[in-house]
Symmetry: C2
Subunit: 226 residues, 2 copies
Amino acid sequence: MKLHTPSPARGPQHYPMPLVRVDLVLLTVKEGRLQVMLSHREKAPFESLWGLPGGVLRIDQDISLEAAAQRVARERLVRELSNLKQVVTMGGANRDPRAPWAMTVVYGSLVSPDLEVMPGKRVQALRWQAVDDLAMTGLLAFDHATLIQMAVERIRQDVRDLHYPRGAMPEQFTLPELQTYSEAILGSPLDKVTFRRRIVAAHLLEALPGALRGGAHRPAQVYKFS
Amino acid sequence: MKLHTPSPARGPQHYPMPLVRVDLVLLTVKEGRLQVMLSHREKAPFESLWGLPGGVLRIDQDISLEAAAQRVARERLVRELSNLKQVVTMGGANRDPRAPWAMTVVYGSLVSPDLEVMPGKRVQALRWQAVDDLAMTGLLAFDHATLIQMAVERIRQDVRDLHYPRGAMPEQFTLPELQTYSEAILGSPLDKVTFRRRIVAAHLLEALPGALRGGAHRPAQVYKFS
DNA sequence: CAAATAGTGTCTTTGAGACAATATATC
DNA sequence: GATATATTGTCTCAAAGACACTATTTG
């Protein structure tokens, strides 16, 4: 069954398209816990709840989906992000009262706890929230709890595989620091010997000779990612 | 900076939205090799090349992204699919000459080689193509070679973890058959003893007692997924 | 019994977990 | 030296790879 018009330039353009959004899952380790950046919702839907920072795809401004995620970060958090990873895309009818059909492409990034963000366009407040406490925090907007969970699973798998995104750790660090950091992300303790063995076997780090650090005890070797 | 209209029902709806497509990566094992289902393109763009079966999201028909993938399978292949898994979402400007900005949500599925498909709406021809030969087959439409590669990597990881999607294997099979099947997907041989050990340790299979099978040699135990 | 494939035994290697010992700072 | 943490040594265990052996069918 052919449409009556043979013009290839038409056809798809006829159909109404969904509202396409991009949402960000920024994760970091703060106070020894894995935390996610939440944005306070001043307007409906889900007014006065918290949700992921996000925005609508702007095809006149964004050259790609990842570029859209970067623009959203600039607008909402007044920051560029590194290591954006696509997590999942959700979409369906009746997902968002602002459109009959809405979808969101979710990007995740593990960032430094020192990352300086400030509420940008149409954002009244931002906060870090420990992901463990999300269940009791009350409701998150939309299906954002699920999206966060998926991003968390993904970063945990990366850390289990010793795939640390650059920029999330300080430039220099010690092995005990990296272990504590990893444990915070995984939410479970790691064996010290095993952790060190795996790290050195992976050849991921470069020792900075002479550089040390310490308190009232033996100082630790300082490393950087090579 | 607030927009001059406080109405929450407006705003996002103002922006032009991209063309949203859903593409399918059907994989199967045929003739001992991992193969992908390709559809012949009769119309521009990429006329007379081969590409993934896909279609435009129809927000009036599809309740969700996965439902859209199922509809595309019904329309293009005259089949329903099981085990659809979202692979990735690609999108950007100048991706598709039919729209200034286009994105595609890719779903993958490992299916039975006996799966009966037939060219459906606007599909002239379908064929299985070994993924190893894709490089020399000449060009695929769009970035479909990349999308196939991502889907292949994903199913390989699943098989390495012994996560076999249901419905891709026959109801009953022997361990040597499952091993050969897995090797075809991975593209590399597996150790027999190790494979058997891992399979039994995983408690994935249920032996069908008494049922055997064979040629001019010792018959193999028949199993099914439990 | 010869041939061919199914299934098992077992040795070795590798990597992870557990626990203990040693090293090096500050106070 | 006491204390605290960093780093290393090593024993054990679990899983994977390699290889040889046994088992069971057909012709």
